[in-house]
Subunit: 575 residues, 2 copies
């Protein structure tokens, strides 16, 4: 039998994983990987940590866990995989089963015959469609070359001021990288009115925004970059937004990526309107001899059932293994993703699985959302810290659609979100989440853990017991409109309530919950009442007492003063 | 309509949760909770942290997250629940629907009528059936009273030496509590040949044992306590085991707990052979008007399908909510548990979900097990540390049966185990675990995360590609028998291999994996080969190369040198 020939186009994440998996199963096969770049098989997600200095050498991003650099020679020697770097795949001839490639250095062209072809062409950064987007000093962080260039400028002391365009994960990570260690005066311009739009909702994003501002990041939200132009001398660049002009020594664009589906499209394979390659669950394209995976494909969203573009290094690795298995005659499948996501922004972790409330509404779900603020371990355990989780539930079916959160103990937060992500493909009900088994010991969880508490709270809302208001709604009616008709009933102890009473006077009323049963006469009957405690738990109890006493219409502030403070809705920093 | 009367026997975990949940749903109802003790509604799992001094005041274990003490008055005022402390439930008259109780202080008896009764009678520590078990200074940590007594003795400086009987979670936690902060010379005597028997297997328990010994705990495994007797003067007690006599100022017994099912049994309710109350999924006993939950019941094990006794404060809380809902006419269910578990022992976290290899075999499963050693985040991220995960898989169905692990970053470990626990009720296959969606970002996970890697490794074993040996098998054939026929083939770099070659001479051969393809002639063909690298990944690659070169019969050491060192199988501390 002749040797099976596999050609892989792209050698960053999915390509190498596919090649290695396949070669282990079929050591006799002939595998060649081609890539335009000289750098291959690197951890692109590590770029912000290289720029920040957390990782000192770029080659650490290209090394195995046992500190060998993943060079073409490494792939030849250790894996038996041939690598052609600096080589561009120009076209796929599906009839002849050949890939036409060109050596970029020499212009030499070659036809690589294949039995099976794997497209791992990845994604590329979206270009800013504005004047000046290609000026010197305007960069993205899509590959190691630009990462090196950015770090070189910074470490030479050439960057006092930087502007980042886009407040997605990479924009936020880069803001930390530049300002935290290097002390670069950093502005982030974002077209949406929040950071991480669509991933999380405003209640949580405000917490991140406050945190970033406390770390001296100049956040410019709801602003569009109109132009980048040469600066006035002191700084080589100026970024002009709809609202201001920002000086910059460096501009980093991070406005998303697009799948590289051109090669596939030109070969006549099925490609989505967004340009991503369409694949089945075995990750075959519309040509069964051609597989595709990683940042160039669309995958099924396991909540919506629709196909979506979700470039993640982790998915590329899992898909790479599936393709490697299938190339060898196996029957592996990749079913899709619930959109799990995490990012560290300064000292705050953000994580998400499934749909945020806003994203769920956009998909047409009628939802209930809940914000729960609770300790990330037993509240009596010394190192506990607050965690903030938001749950999205479909109203009629009570199906859990997603959970998002922020917290300072990142591993604890990501662990909670991962456990919800693990259930989501099975279409869990609220009751499943209520009983989700979180291993318990005081150093790691609460006896009634926050992740279960989100479900309990949502159930109380759906059953009509808990009637809630969110902090952004409180901001609107209590702070902005400052209506005399809205009164906050603070059911905590007097010491907790005092600074709020000082600030808001008559509009902030204090009746500790345990005294409420004897003080209904003190509760104003002609106002819109917002019941408030530290987290929303005691205020829920109070709300039920009010209802039972015939005082209807009050609302419980979700997340309580914890959410108020963390999101900066009320600045109590003088307290 | 007359007020519904609910009586709850037991006021530690399930009782209060049930009472509060029910009262919120039915504020008109009359709820009374009785408990023998004066202390109620406390976090018993926090006792080791109170004894260690991490928690300074015992009342912190009895406080809400908003620092109010959960006294009977608190339950009356804040929750509308009547509490009778110092009151023993003597009998249940199911015909009359009354509970006979006695006030312990006065001897006064009273009959409490109920419409619905909840048994939250909990568990009690197993008595050591040996002479001297009741001497002064022999204690357990089952309640706040003994916790206070233990701490008082220690803080008075009366305890230089302590012996703990039982190396389950509580025994190990207490060993930390006594020795870490107080510097008490602590011995732990355990009848099994490992700590945490049945929860985790020897490969992992050895890692914990090494860690405990490094923290100066004197571990006496495979030893039975025969007698406790008065000491010789300097120390008031002596603990006599089959192998030695240990002086002690304090003896703590932690040999497990038994369900308190007597009240139920005497009332004619169905009780298991082990004494636990039998309930249905709605947590009703064999009398539909009597519910039971918490440490006095058995619950379905969601892997084996059998009923088991699994006392956990977290389950009590979740079950309490279910009972509260059902008392109010709702239809909540508690389906069971996969046995999720975690404990912190000094700086090491241990966590478990589902069955360990040993437990699975005991249940009759034909299993494959795998140990994976990998960084708990991207291997290039500065704060990464190794994590050790063991996976248990049913051989024929490839169903995932359980995962156990240890690691120094406890939240990261527990997060991984929780995500597996979240899948387990859905009977996941190996492929489901291989594709389990772990949110990825370098500070929190690897692109190919360890949790996915365990499934990939198991698949490679089941498919016949990876042929493995465990560190305890290596210890047997390579170290104890020291057979000349067994040779370790170290495929790491020469610097890594050098100290092992120095120690083992010809029996430790070094051929770096990337050079192996040209050096097959150097591989001994007449020896039993164990291929070794740092983790088992490179050695797997090498194993496949050997097979392909016609050198059969070699085995891959699971977890590699990482597992060797962590478990102390080979002491390389001089290295």
């Amino acid at each position: 039998m002749e040797k099976q020939r596999v050609v892989i186009v792209g050698a960053v994440a999915l390509g190498p994983k596919t090649a290695c998996r396949f070669k282990r199963l079929r050591p006799d096969a002939d595998v060649v990987m081609v890539d335009m770049d000289e750098h291959i098989s690197y951890g692109g997600c590590g770029i912000p940590y290289f720029v920040s200095g957390d990782i000192s050498e770029i080659k650490e991003l290209m090394s195995t866990s046992f500190h060998m650099e993943r060079t073409p020679k490494f792939f030849e020697d250790a894996k038996g995989v041939r690598v052609m770097t600096g080589t561009r795949a120009l076209a796929v001839d599906r009839q002849a089963k050949e890939v036409l490639v060109r050596r970029l250095a020499t212009g030499e062209e070659e036809r690589l015959p294949y039995d099976k072809l794997v497209l791992a062409t990845g994604s590329r950064p979206v270009d800013l469609p504005i004047p000046g987007a290609h000026l010197d000093g305007v960069m993205n962080v899509s590959n190691l070359k630009t990462a090196l260039a950015i770090k070189e400028r910074i470490s030479k002391g050439e960057v006092d001021k930087a502007v980042i365009v886009g407040a997605g994960a990479i924009g936020c990570e880069m803001a930390e990288a530049l300002s935290d260690l290097w002390g670069v005066e950093t502005s982030v311009v974002e077209i949406a009115d929040q950071v991480l739009p669509w991933i999380i909702d405003p209640v949580l994003s405000r917490m991140i925004q406050k945190h970033m501002r406390e770390h001296d990041v100049n956040l410019c939200l709801s602003e569009t970059v109109r132009e980048i132009r040469p600066g006035d001398g002191e700084h080589p660049l100026q970024v002009v937004t709809g609202a201001r002009t920002l000086d910059a020594d460096l501009v980093i664009t991070a406005v998303g990526v697009r799948p590289n589906g051109e090669l596939a499209k030109e070969a006549g394979l099925n490609v989505s309107p967004g340009g991503a390659i369409m694949v089945n669950r075995r990750l075959q394209t519309s040509d069964a001899d051609i597989y595709a995976g990683g940042d160039c494909i669309e995958i099924p969203h396991l909540i919506t059932g629709k196909s979506f573009f979700f470039p993640q290094g982790s998915l590329a690795n899992r898909q790479g293994r599936v393709i490697g298995t299938n190339l060898a005659g196996g029957h592996a499948v990749f079913n899709g993703s619930v959109g799990s996501y995490c990012v560290k922004i300064f000292d705050l972790a953000v994580a998400s699985a499934g749909l945020s409330p806003k994203a769920a509404r956009k998909e047409g779900f009628d939802i209930v959302q809940t914000l729960v603020v609770q300790a990330d371990r037993a509240h009596f355990y010394p190192t506990q810290d607050l965690m903030y989780l938001q749950l999205t539930v479909d109203r009629s079916t009570r199906r859990v659609l997603g959970m998002q959160g922020v917290g300072h103990n990142g591993d604890a937060l990501v662990g909670r979100i991962n456990s919800v992500a693990a259930m989501l493909p099975y279409k869990p009900s609220l009751e499943d989440l209520s009983n989700l088994e979180v291993a318990y010991s005081p150093p790691f969880a609460s006896a009634l853990d926050i992740v279960n508490a989100t479900a309990n709270t949502a159930e109380n809302i759906l059953d009509g017991f808990n009637k809630t208001m969110d902090v952004d709604e409180l901001e609107e009616c209590f702070l902005k409109e400052a209506s005399e008709d809205v009164v906050c009933l603070d059911v905590r102890g007097p010491a907790n309530a005092a600074p709020f009473i000082e600030r808001f006077g008559d509009r902030w009323l204090n009746i500790p919950q345990e005294t409420l049963k004897d003080r209904f006469q003190d509760v104003p009957k002609d106002k819109k009442l917002v019941v408030v405690c530290n987290s929303g738990v005691r205020s829920y109890e109070a709300l039920l007492q009010l209802e039972h006493a015939g005082i209807h219409g009050a609302l419980n502030l979700q997340g309580g003063v914890g959410a108020i403070k963390k999101s900066g809705v009320v600045d109590m920093s003088d307290e």
